[in-house]
């Protein structure tokens, strides 16, 4: 029996027959679940590329001027396997860009956003399924542009991931490689914008009956707010990239200025404003989905409702609003007006408040819980740790006085790796281990998962702590050979040990690769509908993997996302959880339960 609200939802989203041709099913699919997998593959592949580039950077700092084993023989043959300064700047530039735009973004936002939004809000697909498909293929084009840049004369982009002009104009980085990469940023921006519009619309328009905003799983809040930030600020990045392309290839001078070597009446700082209006929200674009995932996974495995759910929701909303008002902290040293600098410093310090609310709510969720330490939970707890370290070290960098010394040092690198890289990567891994059974219908091996966890957690902590220490001692970022400086020479051992930990961290990731393929293609038992015994719609209202149309019947939501250890539920069902659309035996049906709230 279905309620009137359900009947309306059914009428709005009728079941379409699944496509039958191979191309429509697996390649040019408009099914959000297939597109999610496409983003997952594309992202994981580039994670490997970006990780390999990181290993080259670490090799250079451990053994400057010495030939790189294996990779050197493959890609740096003309240089005897040795990394030179020009190659080095391409390595760190593309490492940053690939990790941010082409690896973490597609996994966290492209894969989880696509897969989870319709399933967690109880919809049959995205609001604009075709736009979704275009978003993926546009994204793939941008990845290909990045790959192509490596094979041009003079190589790939070398102006740093921040791409500051005039260095990123023909003055500093001539050649088609930098042009291709700037074009790739523009194209991936188009893809992100399409995806963002789709996500925002879907969450607003297609929530199942009863799924009020305050019943959304926190993953949905994270992904939705991220999509809003993307829709607002990625176009700003796009315009900066476009103007830069005009400067590079059509002789305009938006960002070119200077005296003898470069004449021009433009303003290099204008680019920095445009870049960071996007760039600081980007930090939250990557962290909000991870926060959201944690906001669900922690209560799921603590078997306890999320502490002060509304507080976390509002904290995430406030972070979203403030995120565009703090970007100036990246520009304290450009000679900006002191008053402006102080304003940005004030907002940057203020944004720590909602972040603290989020973290303390996790801590209180875990208080007097009944914790299950499965692999997803281990990754979730590690994310809390690395995000905590990242957030706390951010306090130094919010402050202009301390930035006089710390800005542009390895301390900044360590800080944003803890937040943007470690927290978003381990957060993404939390999601991969947790939703893998739903995406593929099989559960990843727990023992391999735990081995992968320890390598990742310990490795990442040591590597980025090494960066923080080097920066604390004053080492600048982006140095081909840091030891040219006398004051850094004492840090040789530190840099080398950090590299060793990085190599171990990288090697440990192959445990995951092995686990992934073994589970996917080896013998495995089906995961079952709800292997983690949790509450949200994707686990309680459909199978693993879900059918093409997601739900045989669109569910009617009757309660919040974290109903665990409720004594009433236990008395009625003998279980410690109740699904979001579950009608408990003896209660009067969904309509009445919905009316009661």
């Amino acid at each position: 029996m279905s309620t009137a609200a359900q009947a309306l939802a059914e009428a709005a989203q009728p079941i379409h027959p699944p496509p039958t041709s191979f191309w429509r099913q697996y390649v040019f699919s408009i099914d959000h679940k297939v597109i999610a997998k496409q983003f997952l593959w594309a992202g994981l592949l580039f994670l490997l590329v970006g990780g390999t580039l990181a290993m080259l950077i670490r090799w250079q700092w451990a053994y400057p001027y010495r030939p790189v084993p294996v990779i050197g023989q493959l890609f740096l043959r003309e240089n005897g396997g040795v990394i030179g300064p020009a190659t080095y700047q391409q390595i760190f530039t593309t490492h940053g860009l690939i990790m941010i735009f082409f690896a973490v973004t597609p996994v966290l936002i492209g894969c989880f956003g696509n897969f989870l939004i319709p399933l967690m809000i109880g919809a049959r697909d995205m609001a604009f399924p075709k736009l979704n498909m275009y978003s993926f293929w546009t994204f793939l084009l941008s990845q290909l542009l990045v790959l192509a840049s490596f094979f041009t004369d003079l190589g790939s982009a070398g102006a740093g991931w921040t791409t500051y002009p005039p260095l990123s104009t023909n003055v500093g980085t001539p050649g088609p490689g930098q042009t291709l990469v700037v074009a790739a940023i523009f194209v991936t921006g188009v893809s992100s914008t399409m995806g963002a519009i789709n996500y925002v619309t879907t969450v607003i328009r297609m929530r199942a009956p009863g799924m009020g905003y305050m019943r959304l799983p926190l993953t949905m809040w994270g992904l939705w707010l991220t999509a809003i930030l993307n829709a607002l600020f990625v176009p700003v990045l796009g315009s900066a990239a476009l103007l830069l392309l005009l400067d590079r290839n059509f002789g305009t001078q938006f960002f070119v200025a200077g005296a003898s070597a470069v004449r021009g009446g433009g303003d290099p700082i204008l680019f920095q404003h445009l870049f960071w209006i996007f760039g600081h929200p980007e930090v939250y674009i990557l962290i909000l989905p991870a926060w959201g995932i944690l906001g669900d996974v922690i209560p799921f495995f603590a078997r306890k409702p999320h502490h002060w759910y509304k507080g976390t929701v509002w904290a995430m909303v406030i972070v979203t609003v403030l995120s565009a008002m703090v970007y100036g902290h990246h520009m304290f040293m450009t000679g900006m007006s002191p008053l402006l600098g102080e304003g940005f410093m004030l907002f940057t310090l203020l944004i720590s408040a909602p972040s603290m609310v989020v973290v303390l709510n996790w801590a209180l969720t875990l208080w007097r819980a009944s914790i299950r330490f499965d692999t997803p939970m281990l990754f979730a707890l590690a994310t809390v740790f690395v995000f905590g370290v990242g957030g706390l070290t951010g306090l130094f960098l919010a402050d202009i006085s301390m930035d006089l010394y710390l800005h542009d040092t390895m301390f900044v690198v360590g800080h944003f790796h803890f937040t943007m890289a470690a927290a978003s990567f381990i957060g993404a891994m939390t999601g991969v281990y947790f939703w893998f059974p739903k995406i593929f219908g099989r559960k990843l091996d727990e023992r391999l998962g735990k081995a992968h966890f320890w390598f990742t957690f310990v490795g990442i902590t040591l590597v980025f702590a090494g960066q923080l220490l080097a920066g604390y001692a004053g080492q600048q970022r982006r140095l081909f050979d840091p030891f040219q400086y006398t004051f850094i020479q004492g840090l040789r051992g530190l840099n080398r040990w950090t590299s060793f930990f990085a190599f171990a961290l990288f090697a440990g990731q192959f445990i995951f690769v092995w686990n992934f393929f073994k589970t996917l293609f080896g013998k495995a038992v089906p995961a079952g509908e709800n292997p983690w015994q949790v509450t949200t719609l994707e686990w309680t209202a459909t199978g693993s993997p879900p059918p093409f149309h997601n739900f045989d019947r669109i569910p009617e939501v009757v309660r919040g996302p974290h109903e665990f250890s409720n004594p009433e539920v236990r008395r009625l069902t003998g279980r410690d959880f109740a699904g979001q659309s579950e009608v408990l035996p003896g209660s009067a049906g969904p309509a009445l339960a919905a009316a009661r709230g």
């Binding site: 300064p85 740093g160 005039p166 260095l167 003055v171 070119v256 005296a259 003898s260 070597a261 470069v262 303003d267 290099p268 306890k304 409702p305 502490h307 759910y309 040293m333 450009t334 000679g335 002191p338 410093m345 310090l349 720590s352 408040a353 603290m356 609310v357 801590a363 209180l364 208080w367 819980a369 809390v384 370290v389 706390l392 306090l395 919010a398 202009i400 006085s401 301390m402 006089l404 010394y405 710390l406 001692a473 004053g474 970022r477 982006r478 140095l479 081909f480 050979d481 040219q484 400086y485 006398t486 004051f487 020479q489 004492g490 840090l491 974290h562 250890s565 409720n566 004594p567 410690d576």
Partner: protein, 255 residues
């Protein structure tokens, strides 16, 4: 004179040779202490939860008035006690010392220097005996900046190609050099010696080589050096060498 700054000992902050660097160091140490306390408290509560509550029935609670009050209270405490303290201190330090170019320029015996950053070195210009920039007695050096101990130094920074950043680790200051504009930095050394000048902003393949040396001299030694160098500069002045005439009229600081 060959310049030979000494390596630093240990992994901490490089030794401070400036008059105002301790203001930065004090904030760093305060922040370090504060975040250590926060980290230990939160970590201890988590570990307690892991060990103590790992099994047994979970508490059924979405948060009580008391526990929400705990969150709000803790956040307010940190916001006022840590963030607020940082903000107030930094406002004072910026206005009175680090960005107070007005009083630095006006100080008795203040040394004014123009620095032109370019790929990949630092050209410095001193006004010479006439006290004016852009005249034949200007002293010009490359990757070699000399200053007297104990008086404020004000540098106006320019760049002719890409963005660089003048960074003095032992004096806890840095400032970007941006093509098309002139930026300022001020500092004051208190211990004579030789220290490194670094470029902190990625500026091309040889960014790592954009190193220079700051020599802090006793006041007499500085005066003698500048006088001698001024004489040499006047003799060596070549009106045809346009490349060497990059100086500009000093721009008085007007906020």
């Amino acid at each position: 004179m060959t310049a030979a700054p000494l390596p630093e000992h240990g992994y901490g902050l490089p030794h401070d040779v400036s008059v105002d660097g301790f203001r930065v160091d004090e904030l760093i140490h305060f922040t370090l202490a504060a975040i250590t306390v926060i980290f230990v408290v939160v970590a201890a509560s988590l570990i307690w939860s892991f060990v103590k509550h790992r099994s047994g029935p979970a508490l059924y609670s979405h948060g009580t008035r008391g526990s929400i009050g705990l969150v709000v209270g803790a956040v307010a405490l940190v916001l006022v006690g840590v963030d607020g303290n940082l903000f107030i201190h930094t406002l004072g330090d910026m206005h009175q010392y680090f960005w107070n170019f007005k009083s630095a320029e006006a100080a008795q015996g203040a040394v004014l220097i123009e620095v032109n950053a370019h790929q990949w070195s630092w050209d410095a210009r001193y006004p010479g005996a006439d006290g004016r920039f852009g005249t034949p007695d200007d002293v010009i050096t490359t990757d070699d900046i000399r200053i007297p101990v104990g008086v404020p130094v004000v540098v106006q920074l320019a760049s002719t190609d890409v963005i660089h950043s003048l960074y003095l680790p032992n004096l806890r200051v840095k400032q970007d050099a941006v093509p098309g504009t002139i930026t300022r930095i001020t500092f004051q050394a208190k211990i004579p010696g030789e220290y490194e000048i670094a470029c902190a902003q990625h500026c091309g393949p040889n960014h790592y080589k954009m190193r220079a040396v700051l020599t802090v001299l006793a006041p007499d030694a500085f005066r003698n050096w500048l006088a001698d160098a001024g004489e040499d500069a006047r003799r060596a002045y070549d009106p045809e060498d346009k490349e060497a005439h990059w100086g500009w009229e000093w721009r008085r600081f007007e906020p």
